[in-house]
């Protein structure tokens, strides 16, 4: 149906446009028929999948393979052919710890500090992100005045580049920033947010939630709008309390969307780098040093660019991410079953 309710106009069969479309589509007929003849009807599925597989192979699996090979070599040369094979040395260096719960006891203490900070960040960020996105989606799903405006406002930060987001907040939070200006106007003392480890982690999480919440709200909002209205009407007729409606109707039916949001938030949180790096620089000390920043610094910022060690660290990070995602999907499937 078109916007005014009338059915869309079909292209007249003998028109120029129609003939052009037929001619263009017809160009593929012969080659496709030939391919189908060669591979058979069943094989056609793989033919259609091939471009995507090629794309993934080239830009995802091949780099993973190169990264794996890089992690088994040493030295500072860039090309694999010029790098000496060192076996599992980098992995051994990364795993050499007195206690995995105490990064200071590890040979690569910054790696483990990064792992510890990333886990903390992920935990706080997931709870805050999913909670805030859910509440916002529930509110924006109600018939409130200015609903369209608020939906746009919450989504707007998603459009900004992470570096821009971090710079904006850095200006707000620095010694002479807007927030400290407001605090001193109210008679308070300036707070050095980037010097106190607790504050630095708090703002790293806060800024991340502020910047990305709109996207997850949108996913949840789509899920909420897909829940049939008659379920709510039936519940209302039965006099069901709002909290019970939320826990017995809304959340169970929203579960598939929540799983998507949880997986995406988890992956994004573990990969966090740009926002936190620009906002806090990993400091104070190493209080907000994330594991991706460790990888970046080891490979590029240190005087000796240790690509092998960085590649080994990223392989470990990738494995951790894979395991966490599988675990989460397994839990979600069990719950759905």
């Amino acid at each position: 149906m078109s916007a005014n309710g009338s059915p869309p106009r079909a292209i007249p069969r003998d028109s120029f446009a129609s003939r052009l479309i037929e001619a263009v589509a017809g160009l593929a007929d012969r080659p496709m028929a030939w391919i189908q003849h060669a591979v058979g009807g069943r094989g056609m599925a793989y033919v259609f999948l091939a471009p995507n597989i090629l794309f993934f192979g080239l830009f995802v699996f091949l780099p993973i393979g190169i990264n794996m090979a890089m992690s088994l070599t040493g030295g500072t040369n860039l090309f694999l052919s010029e790098r000496p094979f060192v076996g599992g040395d980098h992995y051994r260096a990364l795993m050499q710890c007195g206690s995995y719960l105490d990064p200071a006891s590890c040979r690569e203490d910054h790696f483990w500090k990064g792992v510890s900070n990333t886990l903390k960040f992920t935990l706080f960020q997931m709870v805050a992100m999913v909670g805030t996105a859910l509440v916002t989606a529930l509110v924006l799903n109600r018939k409130i005045r200015g609903r369209g405006f608020f939906r746009a406002v919450y989504f707007f930060p998603v459009l900004l580049s992470p570096v821009v987001v971090a710079l904006i907040w850095k200006w707000i939070l620095q010694r002479d920033g807007l927030l400290n200006g407001a605090i001193t106007l109210a008679g308070g003392e300036k707070i050095l947010f980037f010097v106190e480890p607790g504050w630095a982690m708090f703002w790293a999480v806060f800024v991340s939630v502020w910047a990305h919440m709109g996207f997850y709200t949108l996913i949840l909002l789509a899920g909420l709008q897909a829940i049939p209205a008659d379920l709510y009407e039936a519940a209302e007729m039965d006099g069901t309390k709002p909290m019970r409606v939320l826990t017995r109707i809304t959340l169970p039916l929203l579960w598939p969307n929540l799983v998507v949001v949880l997986v995406l938030v988890l992956i994004k949180a573990v990969q966090t780098f740009d926002e936190v790096f620009v906002l806090t620089g990993g400091g104070p000390g190493t209080a907000t040093l994330m594991v991706v920043q460790y990888i970046y610094e080891t490979a590029f910022a240190n005087q000796v660019q240790n690509f092998g060690l960085a590649a080994a660290a990223s392989m470990l990070l990738g494995s951790l991410l894979f395991a966490l995602t599988m675990l989460q999907l397994w839990i979600a499937r069990r719950k759905a079953a």
């Binding site: 040493g74 010694r175 010097v195 620089g281 104070p284 920043q293 910022a301 240190n302 240790n306 092998g308």
Partner: protein, 425 residues
């Protein structure tokens, strides 16, 4: 198309193919700027191009961070420029082109850049001429004279110690409510500006770095103690992690810093940006138990080994490093000369205010007071490994995460690991 048209077309093609535009060699120079030196260099290159129509030089200006982080990767991949302005001479020595076979007057280069060429050569190489110095830098304090006057605190004299300066700057900051009594750039090079005066040597008999000597430890302890006592603010050294550089330029320009340990390269910038807002001076490096020496340093332009046009690169370098051109470059950029002949004759700095000229004089004098250990540290191929390890770990000690003892153990381990990695063949 008749025969006459074909003939005309062929003539045009031959004319185009043999025109100067077709024969031009384009060279790329990767550059960074602290002040106006990019504009000055472009102006000089325009002059070179006018005299050498067969060579065009494209100046690719990048942030300083890219010089240290991206350029090495580019060079390792064989994708770099033909020339580059760099500061990490030792780290990039293996990518440098030996200009000697292509230079018009190699002995002249040796005579004027001799001590600095050693910084640019690979260990064991005693003959290569990889490039020239765009500036010699010296670390040293920049002092906000107006803040001292407002606070009624006397500026310490020429032989004042670090302790004298720390006390004076703290007294000033307390009176005028300046948030940063003493500010150091978060840089290993600046840290060694303090450490050398405390007796740090950094290099063992075998030429390998031995960072944690007594002088180094004393300097690290001072930095940590100053943060604890409020002489230094954690916002520079304690607020970021790893090897991140943080300068206090903005804070100094905003009159929030009575005493700023930075260096000679800031003069042109402050002369322009501070203007008449307040009076500032350069002071001699404070004295420690060992000496009153800061750290030398500098930036230079090197030719890149992977260039396809070594002769043209040498021609450009010969022009840029010639005495009249380089003298003009130093005069217009307010840089301390890294050319022995020009340094001896002196530079008539152009457009410098009285306070900038006075500051240049102080830094020029400081060059003569540099301790030999400072030159050795700067020229060591591994110095930047130590610089980076130092700021990363001392930064953690400043933030209160680890003790000085732990920081020094970690610095030793980090340096050993990186030296081993660099030497893996």
């Amino acid at each position: 198309m008749n025969r006459r048209h074909w003939l005309a077309g062929a003539l045009v093609a031959v004319a185009l193919a043999s025109s100067p535009v077709q024969a031009q060699t384009t060279l790329r120079m990767t550059w960074y700027s602290d002040g106006n030196e990019g504009e000055v260099m472009r102006d000089l290159l325009n002059r070179f191009e006018a005299g050498n129509p067969g060579i065009k030089v494209v100046l690719d200006t990048v942030p300083f961070k890219a010089i240290n982080e991206n350029l090495p990767v580019q060079l390792a991949a064989g994708q770099g420029p033909d020339m580059a302005r760099i500061v990490d001479f030792g780290g990039l020595a293996k990518f440098a082109l030996d200009l000697r076979p292509h230079l018009a007057n190699a002995p002249n280069w040796e005579q004027n850049f001799g001590p600095f060429l050693e910084w640019m050569r690979e260990p064991g190489n005693t003959t290569a001429i990889p490039g020239y110095m765009t500036q010699l830098t010296v670390t040293g304090p920049l002092v906000n004279k107006t803040l001292f006057e407002q606070a009624g605190v006397a500026i310490p004299g020429p032989k004042a110690t670090w302790d004298d300066w720390a006390k004076a700057a703290k007294a000033v900051a307390d009176k005028v409510k300046a948030p940063y009594p003493v500010a150091f750039d978060r840089s290993g090079h600046r840290f060694f500006g303090l450490a050398v005066s405390q007796g740090a040597k950094m290099i063992g008999a075998d030429g390998l770095p031995t960072p944690s000597d007594e002088g180094f430890r004393r300097a690290a302890q001072l930095i940590v103690d100053w943060h604890k006592s409020g002489v230094m603010s954690k916002e520079l050294w304690g607020s970021v992690s790893g090897t991140a550089y943080r300068g206090a330029n903005e804070e100094f320009k905003n009159a929030q810093v009575p005493f700023y340990l930075s260096g000679s390269w800031q003069i042109a910038q402050f002369d322009k940006t501070v203007g008449n807002a307040f009076d500032w001076i350069a002071a001699p490096t404070p004295c420690g138990p060992a000496n009153c020496s800061g750290m030398p340093g500098g930036a230079g332009v090197i030719g890149i080994k992977a260039t396809k046009h070594p002769a043209e690169v040498a021609k450009v370098m010969d022009f840029l490093a010639s005495e009249p051109i380089l003298s003009e470059f130093y005069a217009r950029t307010l840089f301390v000369p890294g050319h022995i002949g020009i340094a001896k004759k002196g530079v008539a700095y152009r457009g410098a205010s009285a306070q900038a000229a006075a500051a240049l004089k102080v830094f020029g004098d400081a060059v003569g007071a540099l301790d030999p250990a400072a030159y050795r540290i700067q020229g060591n191929a591994y110095s930047r490994i130590v610089f980076n390890a130092a700021i990363s770990r001392i930064g953690q000690a400043v933030a209160g995460e680890i003790t000085i003892d732990d920081a020094i153990k970690r610095i030793d381990a980090d340096v050993a690991q990186q030296v081993a990695e660099r030497n893996k063949k």
